[in-house]
């Protein structure tokens, strides 16, 4: 545990979490499926979602909540009546330079395997040119009567410059095994560039390094174009695996919502829906 903490502290300055998502979340931004987590700044829809790090929340709204769900991949040739799904609820509160976000997720794989995840992210605009947050994730996975619980942590640093925001993160840093056999999940380090909205929309690039895997690198490039102040379209492409995603988002003064599709060339389409309220 001590070693993990040291490792964690060393990486604070350099890395920031793009998201603290599910156990093997196929999308870098969890429910930000349409742009796959590349557009997180300002009013990018991902930034308001409660399960994204508090460092990414830069808005004038002070309180809000959100709910979302995702259905993963096509129906397959067994367990045809049982899908792989995830639901989440969350809330945030911003006061002064401090933002606190909390979320709860439930993941269900054809009623056989499930995960429950509680997340807490505390962010602060520590400096004028930088916000950062610390994330904690308590994961419980179970299959029948067997269960395991792990505690992970993440760190996010966001540097919002005039024409580009730079995000660095680490996530899934193992802190402690609470109970059960343990999973020993690989840590994920990411770095990204996000532009503010411009005449071409907003653009983002995220590079992920996934620890202890054969293909460690993953690149995601996304675009979000706002046709009107209320309506935007987004799209992204990722490597490893190659996935294309498309999404729409709309927002009013206090409400925003999104719907997205992500295509995996072999496993098929995933669908995501999100709804947020804030004031």
């Amino acid at each position: 545990m001590a070693l993990s903490l040291v490792r964690y502290l060393v990486l604070i300055a350099a890395l920031a979490s793009a998201a603290v998502a599910g156990l093997n979340d196929p999308f870098p931004m969890g429910y930000g499926m349409g742009n796959q987590g590349t557009i997180v700044w300002q009013n990018g829809i991902a930034g308001r979602q409660p399960w994204t790090p508090a460092a990414w929340y830069r808005d004038s709204l002070h309180v809000g909540c959100a709910a979302a769900c995702a259905l993963y991949y096509d129906a397959m040739d067994n367990f045809q009546d049982a899908s792989i799904s995830q639901i989440a609820v969350g809330a945030f509160c911003a006061a002064g330079i401090i933002t606190v976000k909390a979320a709860f997720e439930h993941f269900n794989a054809f009623d056989l395997y499930s995960e429950q995840t509680g997340r807490l992210s505390i962010g602060a605009a520590a400096l004028r040119f930088m916000t950062m947050s610390i994330d904690a994730e308590l994961l419980r996975a179970s299959i029948g009567p067997q269960a395991a619980m792990e505690l992970y942590a993440g760190e996010t640093v966001m540097i919002p410059l005039r024409y580009v925001g730079i995000a660095l993160s680490c996530r899934r840093m193992h802190i402690a095994r609470v109970s059960g056999g343990g999973f020993d999940l690989p840590a994920v380090y990411s770095a990204g560039f996000h532009t503010p909205e411009n005449q071409f929309g907003a653009q983002g690039i995220v590079l992920e390094i996934i620890d202890r895997t054969h293909d460690v690198l993953r690149l995601v490039i996304g675009e979000e174009y706002r046709f009107t102040p209320q309506f935007a379209l987004c799209a992204a492409v990722s490597t490893n695996p190659v996935q294309l995603s498309f999404g729409i988002s709309f927002n009013t003064a206090s409400m925003s919502g999104s719907a997205a599709l992500v295509d995996h060339p072999v496993l098929g389409w995933s669908k995501g829906f999100g709804l947020e309220w804030a004031r």
Partner: protein
């Protein structure tokens, strides 16, 4: 047409009959022309040559003025004088071969051969030899033999004549040809299949050697049969029978009968004893392949099998079910046949071959019972080293027709020369035939149909084809299990089994994907029914717990399609 030598023999018998109603007949019942061992040394080669004769008549044969001619040299036949230990139970020094007795004309050099190389001769066998050091001019593999009474320069009476049809017994020839139909392995003798019928066929002796007795004589009776041509419309096969009481049947009361396991074809009826063999004809129903001719003679009832499957077999009774044409240093070419009929089939005399050549499986009985398999291999010893099967399942013909690795046709003919089975293979039928055999996945389909075959990585000679159960599906299917599986080394559910069922020509590739959509592992395939995943990635790392996906990509005649299954991994 009856060959000349047989006509001479029959003439002799007729003359004898006119002379006193006696039957005089000497049959050559075994010839060893190619003994095992070096030809130039005493231990083997020519020193072990012999000619076995059996007096099947009822008149004694004296060897006075008896000569032997092999087309090269004329030798007188004389009694054996050396008292060798191995001949202690034999009859030496006699000049008479009585009715029913067997004599061996043995090479004189046999006395010089070391003890270890002596063969066993039946007790009571009369041992003769030639006046010269060798039998004739030593017997070549294609040499025939003429035994006659007369002088060195004149034939008074032909006693026996072993030669191919069309030759006449004469001292003026330089060669008496006796090819015996096919090549005989070194160390094996040849024996006549029948001596009571014309056109004798000679076979390789199943026991390699049997000096001192004629295999078909039982209890002093010799019974033989010859099959006609099957009349399919009547479902009958005419069969000529001949039997002979050696030494004459005066005062003998005997009956004969023919029956199969299912029915009696010919009820017991009295044998009409006279001079020479007794003959009759019966029609054998084609509802069985094995009949028995039984002669009841007082208390004994010897029986001879009448196996019609060497001449006739139900159409498609024998199927080629697996072929291995791609020999390696560790594995010879082989193929497997199966009897898919309800009758036993004897492959004796059956031929196999490609479009270019054909050869006989076996001269010996090679009975394949219903649902049984036989493997025909080029090299029996090498095959058995590779596949430790019961040795009786494997046959190695004396010669082999090489199978083409890529494209060939393999055919089977029965003893009558009728085509019974034909299969072929083409390399381009199979996407991934790098090794292994071709298994017949369905005997309902013609062996010329590409859909009847599948590549088997794990060949199954001598047993049901593994592919039959999973390569004969009309549509591909995949099953995985257990779900969940837990590759934690506790001995329970440590492996995920991916079980395929595919059309014969379909190929499949199997990949495992993690929940994050990344490919974890490629599994080998497609030529095995079940692939196992140990829960690790291609580079050996443990896969993450949670959902995963098994994606099987199948390519067949209808194109490419994918079957996806989901599972859960837990550690």
């Amino acid at each position: 047409m009856m060959p000349r030598w047989c006509a001479y023999t029959l003439l002799v018998c007729l003359l004898a009959w006119f002379r006193g109603n006696a039957f005089e007949c000497i049959a050559v019942t075994e010839l060893l022309k190619n003994p095992a061992g070096n030809e130039d040394t005493i231990p083997g080669g020519k020193s072990h040559e012999f000619i076995e004769i059996t007096n099947i008549g009822d008149v004694a044969l004296t060897i006075d003025s008896l000569w032997l001619f092999d087309g090269g040299e004329i030798d007188s036949i004389v009694p054996w004088r050396d008292t060798l230990p191995q001949l202690r139970s034999c009859v030496l020094g006699t000049r008479t071969v009585g009715p029913g007795q067997t004599a061996l004309v043995l090479d004189r050099d046999y006395a010089l051969a070391p003890r270890a190389s002596w063969f066993v001769i039946d007790p009571g066998t009369i041992i003769l030899t030639t006046g010269d050091a060798d039998i004739g001019n030593t017997l070549a593999e294609d040499d025939g033999v003429l035994m006659y009474k007369g002088t060195k320069s004149r034939i008074d009476r032909v006693v026996s004549f072993v030669a191919d049809p069309g030759q006449q017994p004469s001292l003026g020839v330089t060669k008496i040809l006796h090819m015996s139909g096919r090549k005989i392995a070194e160390g094996y003798s040849v024996i006549p299949r029948q001596v009571l019928f014309a056109n004798v066929e000679w076979l390789q002796c199943p026991d390699s050697l049997s000096p001192g007795h004629y295999e078909y004589v039982k209890n002093g009776w010799l019974a033989e049969y010859r099959l006609g041509t099957a009349d399919v419309s009547r479902q009958m096969l005419p069969c000529s029978l001949a039997c002979l009481k050696i030494g004459g049947c005066a005062g003998v009361s005997a009956t004969w009968s023919v029956a199969s396991a299912k029915s009696t074809v010919s009820a017991p009826r009295a044998l009409d004893c006279g001079a020479g063999p007794m003959r009759t004809t019966v029609d054998l129903p084609l509802d069985s392949t094995l009949y028995a001719l039984r002669i009841t003679d007082g208390g004994s009832a010897p029986a001879w099998d009448i196996d019609i499957s060497t001449e006739w077999a139900p159409l498609s009774a024998i199927r080629i079910t697996e072929v291995f044409p791609r020999a390696t240093a560790d594995e010879p070419e082989w193929f497997e046949v199966a009897n898919v009929s309800s009758m036993s089939i004897n492959l004796k005399g059956w031929r196999f071959g490609t479009g270019e050549d054909s050869l006989v499986f076996s001269d010996a009985d090679l009975l394949v019972r219903p649902a049984e398999f036989r493997v025909i291999a080029r090299d029996r010893a090498l095959f058995l080293r590779r596949y430790p099967l019961p040795a009786g399942l494997v046959t190695a013909p004396s010669s082999w027709v090489a199978l083409d690795n890529y494209d060939d046709t393999l055919r089977l003919w029965n003893g009558r020369g009728n085509l019974q089975e034909s299969v072929c293979w083409h390399n381009e039928w199979f996407v991934s035939w790098k090794a292994g055999s071709l298994e017949r996945v369905s005997t309902d389909r013609s062996g010329l149909d590409k859909n009847a075959w599948a590549v088997a990585v794990n060949p199954s000679p001598g047993m049901p084809n593994g592919s039959v159960t999973w390569r004969s599906a009309t549509r591909a299917s995949v099953e995985i299990g257990p779900v969940p599986f837990s590759p934690n080394g506790d001995g329970s559910d440590d492996y995920l089994a991916v079980t395929l069922s595919l059309p014969a020509l379909a190929t499949a590739s199997i990949a495992i994907y993690g929940f994050d959509g990344r490919k974890i592992r490629d599994l080998p395939g497609p030529a095995q029914q079940t692939c196992r995943w140990d829960g690790r990635s291609d580079d050996g790392r443990p896969a993450l717990p949670g959902p995963f996906f098994v994606v099987v990509r199948i390519q067949d005649d209808r194109g490419v399609h994918t079957i996806r299954k989901k599972g859960v991994l837990w550690r």
